[in-house]
Amino acid sequence: MTSPAPAALRVEDLHKSFGPLEVLRGIDLTVSEHEVVCLIGASGSGKSTLLRCINLLEPIDAGRVSVEGEEITAEGVDTNRIRRRIGIVFQAFNLFPHMTVLDNVTLAPRKVLRRPVATAEAEGVALLERFGLADKRNEYPDRLSGGQQQRAAIVRALAMQPDLMLLDEVTSALDPELVGEVLGVIRSLASGGMTMLIATHEMGFARDIASRVCFLDAGVILEEGPPAQIFSAPREARTQQFLQRIIEAGRL
């Protein structure tokens, strides 16, 4: 008898408070290998907090997070080793402004994985080429457009060859005409089989790309399902209200 392969990511009964404010009140979420799960929910519902907890950037109050069967929130786990396996891309890019694009991309492979400089750079240039940034490799981040900066941030995370990518509203700081190029990159990652958990306000994009959509409300995942069901026939009243507001705002 063979046990099924462990999920790429499993979150069980995760609780997180900031002082008196309980932001996450028992999150249960599983992401299987090669799955793309989109996290939707109102502003302030805790999407970023959940992603930061999964990447151990925020300590959690209760519950557990496991990556490929290994509990990463257990006592005594080496957080640096875990974070190598989980790539995260932030809304505000957070590139290192004092380094060129290529140095941004190769820093962690060189210092964390101890790759020789030449190897790290060759790999970095190849990745930048794949995402149309090879000619920007020697520029500093402030010379790039927002879309280019966000693509560079995605490449920087990919350079660590993570098993799982967390994307936190990676297009919401971009001018509308730059959103497309970044969404294109994410689509190509999805079709390459990358396992991803994506917090997003781009409902059209979520409908296209997600294997599953989770609606986060009042600190729990209130409803989840395939995008066709969530977007056209949501069961919960709160989900209906949320989507109604989005439609009124012209974003679906």
Binding site: L57, T79, R83, F90, F96, L107, K111, V112, D142, A157
Partner: protein, 279 residues
């Protein structure tokens, strides 16, 4: 990029820069002329002029004073390198997170509090006379050595605070980005946070260097024969205070360019910052 500076800019534009310069020159002449006139017509002016502004004494003492300044420069350069390193180490120790590092943080805090509180001259005295006084075997009793140690201890406390302000001014999202890639806390500091912090604190660091440069004269009190000690010797040999004026001129010649450089760097950083915001 054009910046609209509002109605004042337009008005100044119409008058033209020549007029502004003329006004500046005229008001300077009136003010400094009045002050100068008052001084040279003071009852005791001739006596003061003789004992502080004697051109012959100035010319005679200047070469030796300039030569002695070499010791101050050595002192300054050696201490400066040590200060930059020690100050950074202390700043990093103070910003280590978590309860494990509490004793280290506490020690670093006590250090900065202590050496910023005690007047520098006392530290110089205590080390320069106290430690050689113990007469311990193998411990140097060269006053120059203890002068370097004392200045390093005192100025590292100030400089570590400058670095710490720089470290804290780097947004926490930079650390989050570094840690999320698997860098350790120390690697994040080393490769991401400190390099950005250091760039930001260059002007205030230069400011502290100017202070250090001047404070090198304090070590004359423990017997280092440097510029101030030489000008004292000259004063008692020639019964004239003009050598002190020569010393002041030497410091002016070195410090004013540094001060202008500091201003220029601050202004450049401010321009860059504004350009970044306006983008």
């Amino acid at each position: 990029m054009s910046v609209d500076r509002g109605p004042f800019a337009r008005r100044r534009g119409r008058e033209g820069p020549a007029r502004a310069v003329a006004i500046a020159v005229l008001s300077s002449i009136v003010l400094f002329g009045a002050v100068g006139y008052a001084i040279v017509h003071a009852p005791n002016w001739p006596a003061v002029q003789q004992s502080f502004l004697d051109p012959e004494v100035f010319a005679e003492s200047l070469p030796e004073i300039v030569a002695a300044f070499g010791i101050n420069v050595q002192l300054f350069l050696i201490a400066e390198v040590l200060i930059l390193v020690l100050g950074l180490v202390i700043a990093v120790l103070r910003s280590l997170p978590g309860p494990v590092f509490f004793p280290i943080r506490a020690m670093a805090t006590v250090y900065t509090d202590l050496f910023r509180a005690v007047p520098g001259i006392l530290v110089i005295y205590l080390l320069g006379f106290g430690i050689p006084g113990l007469d311990m075997p193998g411990v140097p009793n060269d006053p120059f050595f203890w002068a370097v140690v004392a200045l390093t201890l005192v100025y590292s406390a100030y400089v570590s605070e400058v670095y710490r302000a720089g470290i804290e001014s780097v947004h926490p999202s930079q650390e989050a980005a570094a840690r999320s890639l698997g860098l350790s806390r120390f690697q994040a500091l080393r490769y991401v946070i400190v390099p950005q912090a250091v760039r930001r604190v260059v002007p205030p660091l230069l400011n502290d260097f100017i202070g250090l440069q001047k404070d090198t004269v304090l070590v004359s009190f423990i017997g280092v024969v440097e510029i101030f000690r030489v000008s004292q010797n000259k004063e008692s040999a020639l019964f004239n205070f003009t050598p002190y004026l020569a010393t002041a001129v030497v410091f002016l010649a070195v410090t004013i360019p540094l001060a202008r450089l500091t201003d220029w760097l601050s202004a450049r950083d401010r321009r860059r910052y504004l350009a970044g915001v306006a983008r």
